[in-house]
Structures are given as C-alpha cells and as structure tokens.
Amino acid sequence: DAGITQSPRYKITETGRQVTLMCHQTWSHSYMFWYRQDLGHGLRLIYYSAAADITDKGEVPDGYVVSRSKTENFPLTLESATRSQTSVYFCASSLQGLADQYGEQFFGPGTRLTVL
C-alpha cells in the first residue's frame, strides 16, 4: 500500500551540483507529473509524462531533466542546481492526463530541496 513515494524527503546541495529527485508509484498510473511549490504560491508544473518513454515540458522546465524508462518511476534531475531552484518538489500520478477531462492527481509527500 505504498502509493506514491518520493526520495529523499529533504536535500541540501550546493550551487552547480547535479541532484536527482526520485518518484515511485505502485498504482501503474499512466500519467506522472513534477511540480514545484514555492512559499506562498501554488504548484507550477515542471514536466509530465503520459507513459513510459513519453515526457513533455510543463510551465517551468528550464534547468530540469526527466526520464521515464519504467511506468512506476519518474526521476527529476537538476543538472546544475541554482539557488532559485530551492523549493518543495511534488511528484503526482493520475489515471488520466492532460486531456479535456482528466482524473484526480495523487501527490507524493514532497521533497524539500535547499540549494546553497
């Protein structure tokens, strides 16, 4: 009954380092999403994936890379971390995706990332 998990839950890194945030879901949902949430703001979509090997950019993709070799995993990589990427990152999954009508999104617990 794991659902959707994220690791690490907390991460401190330095400017310029590469960081990978992991997301794993056990429901076999087709769609997966990465969001960032900055203090006092809503969620902004970074990347999403409709299925394994299919990914697409969201609202704020610059500086991030994703991959989805397996349905259950959707890692997010910050190639060269910057201070502006300090944020809380949420992964989510859904049975349906970005069509006219899409299903509820199930969110992971989040990763709090600090870039020094």
């Binding site: 969001y35 006092g40 902004r44 899409y102 509820e104 969110f107 617990p109």
Partner: protein
C-alpha cells in the same frame, strides 16, 4: 497560457463561521478540480467539476462551477479547526491557482 486566479489569498475565521474561496479564469474551462493541502503536507484531491452550473456537496463543503465555466467556488459551512489548510483550484493543463490559506481560531 491559461491562468486561474484565486481570492482571497488568506482568510482568518472564527470556528463556526463560514468560508468561501473563489477561482476565476479569463477563458472557458473544460473542468476544474479542488485540492486541499494541510500545513506541511501534500495536496489532496477533493473534487472535480465538469458541467456548467454544477454544484456538488461533501458534508459541509459545497463546490460550484459557474454557468459560463469561467469561475468556481468552494464554500465551507461552520468551519472547524480540521478545515485549516490551503485550498487550491486547478484547471486545464495542470494550472493551479495560488491557493487560499484558511486559518480557524477555536
């Protein structure tokens, strides 16, 4: 791109008072979703509205979708301390509003 505006940004109420948050869009929405995020937690899906003028209720929560499908509201009757959190609307290509943060004074 599509944007949704939520008002108010913050709402402080006495326990037992009602609360309403509004979500507005300049374009017609195909659907709208509402989520709740407790302090320190992650967003949790509450409901999805699809039809023009649709009204759905969940206990003390009432959700409405405007006739023109450009706005939506979430109304909580007789708030309780368990209602504390941030309420987000989401529409279109996973566009989230900035949320309304509700605090409830016992």
């Amino acid at each position: 791109g599509q944007q949704v505006m939520q008002i108010p940004q913050y709402q402080h109420v006495q326990e037992g008072e009602d609360f309403t948050t509004y979500c507005n869009s300049s374009t017609t929405l195909s659907n709208i979703q509402w989520y709740k995020q407790r302090p320190g937690g992650h967003p949790v899906f509450l409901i999805q509205l699809v039809k023009s003028g649709e009204v759905k209720k969940q206990k003390r929560l009432t959700f409405q979708f405007g006739e023109a499908k450009k706005n939506s509201s979430l109304h909580i009757t007789a708030t309780q301390t368990t209602d504390v959190g941030t309420y987000f609307c989401a529409a279109g290509k996973s566009t989230f509003g900035d949320g309304t943060t509700l605090t409830v004074k016992p």
